[in-house]
Symmetry: D2
Subunit: 259 residues, 4 copies
């Protein structure tokens, strides 16, 4: 019914980023704070995550926030903090780009380019990201159909990208007990119809720390190749999305359930 766009059909099934391979059978963990807030707290959390076996970290530098008065991320100032932490702890890093300027600033420090939900259909940004030669992580928008999602991914591919990872992060529905509804059927369908690896973001879908683990387990069971999870040392003190962040103990327990 949905025609898979031509260049998506030519995309790569197994994508290596540092020590992790997406789509190769092992479940890939990406974890880290919602935002990089300062050098020391970031150093500590990625250090702790490393001890738990996590070699791929996340952390927002350019944050798209619902209010212009909310913390917008450390932006360019955070790049050096991340660079130093990577040097010390040897992890791969993914962070969101918002436009050409942030893309240029982040390219040297990020190992994978994240296009966030709000920019899922921002085609000009997709063209730029697709042309970098980097692996791109494309998050599905709040109300984006599979046809539109693949159209967006094809923008990446048409610009040259063949290493594209799709991320299901929940859609807007009537359900009021989660922030979004994790669409495990979309994960299962994508795994059957497109070559690209598919990961899940259970943190944004849940919007609630206690529901992150079951959503992650469900995504895995539906066929997800990995997950991107928000973890922080003091969830209650973080400057964004505090409610949905796991502390290290909860993350460690969830990871043990899976491994």
């Amino acid at each position: 019914m949905i025609e898979i766009p031509p260049k998506i059909r030519q995309c790569v099934r197994e994508i290596r980023v540092g020590r992790n391979v997406f789509g190769g059978g092992d479940f890939v963990w990406i974890a880290g704070p919602c935002a990089v807030e300062d050098g020391e707290s970031f150093r500590r959390i990625v250090g702790e995550l490393g001890k738990l076996g996590v070699t791929f970290c996340r952390g927002g530098l350019f944050k798209p926030r619902s209010s212009p008065y909310a913390f917008q991320g450390l932006r360019a100032e955070g790049v050096e903090l991340v660079r130093r932490a990577k040097e010390e702890f040897h992890f791969s890093f993914v962070t969101e780009v918002l436009d050409e300027a942030s893309l240029r600033v982040l390219l040297p420090v990020t190992d994978m380019i994240q296009i966030g939900s709000r920019n899922c259909l921002n085609y000009e940004l997709l063209k730029l990201a697709g042309a970098t030669g980097k692996v791109v992580l494309l998050k599905r928008g709040f109300a984006v159909t599979m046809a539109e999602f693949l159209g967006a991914a094809e923008y990446l591919a048409a610009s040259g990208a063949r290493e594209i990872i799709l991320c299901e992060r929940g859609i807007r529905t009537v359900t009021e007990v989660t922030r979004f509804t994790l669409d495990v059927g979309a994960i299962a369908w994508l795994k059957r119809h497109v070559p690209c690896p598919v990961i899940a973001d259970p943190s944004h879908a849940a919007g609630d720390a206690e529901l992150v683990a079951p959503l992650l387990l469900a995504a895995h069971a539906a066929g997800a190749d990995g997950a991107i999870v928000e973890v922080s040392q003091c969830p209650e003190e973080t400057r964004c999305d505090a409610k949905q962040q796991l502390d290290l103990a909860a993350f460690a327990q969830m990871k043990r359930q899976m491994d």
Copy 2:
């Protein structure tokens, strides 16, 4: 945030129906055709399911169809067919009731009363079903919130039922590759907040046989206590919902993946 209604809080955590216990740790399989179409085909499918270890069967007698000209089920005429098949194969049986008349007809043959999605908020029917003393399986409606779902379940409880099983069967969303979106977050949330066992209906959510297994696995991973699955011997020949029915081989393979 959502207040759990008072009598739901007093509901039973483990519910035995025949040889199956919902909420007791073992995953309960309910399987069978969308509709009971004739005695011989029903006999054969439940016989085959029995060989696969399924001791709880489903099969619609009163079918709520989108068109008045579609097959409406064998109705009262099918009761005797089911009774005989139960006698021969010793399975528990669940089927949908639509109103007081069908409830009366079905009570002698059904071991669990199913309230379908379209009647999730049909409070008069809930009052009747709750007063029978039978276990009730309440399916969530297409666009029903958790608050409304628990309100509906409380109607059952307020009429006397304490053995209530909740069923997540997918909600209406923007996703076009599945018929409905299975809300695994709702399953996880319900398991944390109400005592009632929760099962999933991956068949109606998927609307497509190839997606039934991943949805069932996801539901299980999210905490579901069981599943109700449409299985028929010749999916392409069935008179309703043909596309989403598993054949016996596909069902057996899925069951092995889980057991």
Copy 3:
């Protein structure tokens, strides 16, 4: 694209109920309290509405409420109150039926049978209502497509009804400032594709008295043949849906805007 069901195509374009004609060019006003709460308050409100030219009144006797502990309506006890008020003030009356029992109780007093949103796909009830010979008002469910809505209406028609009025009352969407989203496009589409008159329920869509008037005006502009509006003398004292009820002054002002 959507095939109009055969008996819907034979339905009547102009439907007279008492002094009102739906589909005849004049906008029909149906107004009254959410629920009939007692004889005196009902007498007073329908009396006042009559002075404003309203000759078709609404008032719930059997109320489908989200909680079993909320006021369920006066039920059979209210019939005599309504009968007496009709005798005194000579208005037509519409009220919701929930099942066969309430249908039987209400038939002598109601001039039009209302099927509520929650029972839009309750096909057994539709069969009964369609066979009464009375005009039926079918409200669209929270997440019901046009194809399903017409399928439901066809159940009425297949049981004999040819005088069917369709009611758009808002659907569930992401919008948080109204209780439901009034689907004016559905009104416009229905008016172009089916003969049945179409009315709107701006009160339930708005969920907020201050938005009732603009929604009603929008529905009229989109082609609605009338509206059913909740009006009460003391909105803040009513026992259900208080927030969305207009007081008489607000209703009178809105009606003047239209007439």
Copy 4:
């Protein structure tokens, strides 16, 4: 319930662009083709629209299309065509910007900056657009709540804009007979709670020429200050969104209904 952001509260109620005033009581018509396709066809359509009294024209130069292989607009090459048509026919012009590059290219020729639905939450673009000193037209995203919509508008305001026009263009819902569902309740709510003028885009909501007029009339009735409508000389030959474009005769008839 929803707090209106501080700078939105200081926005201007009446916004003059050329000969049109939004929010001043007169309904403002913006019309034109989905995309500017070539100089001659654009010249002809704006000339014809001028004869119908339309002094504000639309026409996409940078088109965000679902497929990278679809016509992406004339882009920078179209600017001179528009400039010449404006010189000849003296209309105001609005067109969509996609990023900083297109913004720079379009600033000299556009009298109002349009942020499209897909970029409604593209905050970096909003910051740039808000800082230009131009009037900004912000279209609501497919699944954007009022709180998010006002948050996005506040990005414009926080960057200096005080002349912001909000555009309701339909949201994603279960309804299958329109492309999107025009949210007239959102229009009514915005008009009561924020100073900014509000217009509607009935063309994208309808997705079908025959439903454009009733949606426009409904938006007007709900309080919209104007509308932006797709009109082309040969709808069936246009290179994008052909199905929803009005021809001149249909547009003229609709305009007469309103004026």
